[in-house]
Structures are given as structure tokens and as C-alpha cells.
């Protein structure tokens, strides 16, 4: 696996994920399994999918 931390898109997506986690911390309790969870999952899916870089690509 190559060093994904050098991919600019990954860096931005990682920062976005952290920002989303910080902002969603203040969301109401009734949204824990709703919007908060959905938003967090969608945001961390972006850097996670960029990381899956095969050898040679």
C-alpha cells in the first residue's frame, strides 16, 4: 500500500471528517442514530475509500 497521507484529496477529506465530528457533537440526542450517525458515516467513508489504493495505482 502506498502512503495515502500524501494524497491531497485524502488530507482534505480527513479534515472534513474531523470538522463534521466536531460539529455533530452538539446535535440533539434524538439524532444520535439518525442524522448524526448518517452524516458521520458519509463523511468518514470518503477518506476510507481513498485509502484503499492498490499497489501500482
Amino acid at each position: 500500500m502506498r502512503d495515502y497521507t500524501k494524497i491531497e484529496a485524502w488530507k482534505l477529506a480527513d479534515d472534513l471528517t474531523v470538522a463534521v465530528y466536531e460539529r455533530t457533537r452538539t446535535y440533539p440526542r434524538e439524532e444520535i442514530y439518525g442524522l448524526t450517525s448518517q452524516l458521520r458515516r458519509a463523511s468518514y467513508s470518503v477518506p476510507a475509500n481513498i485509502v484503499l489504493r492498490p499497489v501500482g495505482a
Binding site: 500500500m1 495515502y4 497521507t5 494524497i7 491531497e8 484529496a9 485524502w10 482534505l12 477529506a13 480527513d14 479534515d15 472534513l16 471528517t17 474531523v18 470538522a19 463534521v20 465530528y21 466536531e22 460539529r23 455533530t24 457533537r25 452538539t26 446535535y27 440533539p28 439524532e31 444520535i32 442524522l35 450517525s37 448518517q38 452524516l39 458519509a42 463523511s43 468518514y44 467513508s45 470518503v46 477518506p47 476510507a48 475509500n49 481513498i50 485509502v51 484503499l52 489504493r53 492498490p54 499497489v55 501500482g56 495505482a57
Partner: protein, 181 residues
């Protein structure tokens, strides 16, 4: 790359969280989860290293992983990702496969944009916060688009070369085959 100590790993493989050490080691490859995991670790060295690397994640995090992970999100993610990585092995080796995952990333980014918009409509986010987050998603989108185009170009070149070689091979075999009257 930062590697957590055995003491830190033990904290997560304890009875309380029930995560296998193998799954946890695979999880360390996921950058965000790695930071979260090390930030929650019991070992002072790991916590210090995580604090130095990503102070934003440590904010409001208690030293007890069990107390933080009440809903089991971290535990589930770690177990799921660890198991998935082991299953996949080296199956994702081609550029085409990688492109597939980049398209998924782009879809998730669009999804994130909509959820941010919805959060603002529901009053969970202020207009300024929405603008900041949408700005970040747009920047990420542009960068990701560039990455996709670059990989598509590389993948296209390779596909063309394979197509050319295959057609030459077929032509060669065809010209050598005996002519049927």
C-alpha cells in the same frame, strides 16, 4: 507511522470492548480510526502522541475507552473493518477497482453535502457553520475529481495497450490459420 504500545492495544482487547488484537492492528491502517483509537488508549505515551498529532480529536475524550464507546460504534467499526481487510487480502489490485472506490468516495461526499444542508434546515447548524463545511466539501470534491481523472487517464492508457495487443494477437493467429475453401 505511529504504532501504539502493547499496553494500549491491551486496553482495547480487554473484556469490556471485546476487540481482537488482529482486528485492531488492521484498523490502525485507517487513519481516522487510528487516531481515535490511540487517543482513547490508556498508555500515556500513546495519548501524548495522539494529542500532539491530532489535538482536535482528543477534545472531550475520557481516558476510559469503555465509557467513551457507549454505543459500540468504535468497537463495531474496528471489528467490521478488521474482518473486511483480512477477507479482501490482495483482491483490490487493479486501477479499475481503485476507480470504483473513488466513485464511492465521491458519492459519499455528495451525501455529506446533503446532510449538512439538511442539518442547517433543521436548525442544528448555523449558516456560517454550514458555509464552512460546504466550502470544505467543495474543496475536497475538486481534489477528488482531479484524482479520479488522473486514475481514469492511467487506466484508459493501460486498457488501450491491452486492446491493441489483443487485436494484434488475434490478427496474427487468424493470418496463420489455414484458409477454408
Amino acid at each position: 507511522m505511529f504504532t501504539p504500545s502493547n499496553q494500549c492495544l491491551d486496553a482495547f482487547t480487554s473484556d469490556r470492548l471485546r476487540i481482537s488484537k488482529n482486528a485492531l492492528l488492521y484498523t490502525m491502517r485507517e487513519p481516522f480510526l487510528r487516531h481515535v483509537t490511540t487517543a482513547l488508549g490508556r498508555c500515556a505515551n500513546c495519548r501524548r502522541s495522539a494529542r500532539e498529532n491530532r489535538p482536535d480529536i482528543l477534545r472531550g475524550v475520557s481516558s476510559d475507552p469503555g465509557a467513551v464507546d457507549k454505543n459500540g460504534w468504535l468497537r463495531n467499526s474496528i471489528s467490521r473493518i478488521g474482518a473486511a481487510r483480512r477477507r479482501e487480502g490482495s483482491s483490490r489490485q487493479s486501477k479499475k477497482d481503485y476507480l470504483h472506490f473513488l466513485y464511492i468516495a465521491r458519492g459519499s461526499l455528495s451525501e455529506t453535502q446533503y446532510f449538512i444542508h439538511l442539518s442547517q434546515r433543521l436548525g442544528y447548524l448555523l449558516e456560517g457553520e454550514r458555509r464552512d463545511l460546504i466550502g470544505q466539501t467543495r474543496q475536497t470534491f475538486a481534489c477528488l475529481h482531479g484524482l479520479i481523472k488522473a486514475v481514469e487517464k492511467e487506466s484508459g492508457k493501460f486498457a488501450k495497450a491491452v486492446a491493441l495487443l489483443t487485436s494484434l494477437l488475434v490478427l496474427g493467429l487468424w493470418s496463420r490459420s489455414p484458409v477454408v475453401p
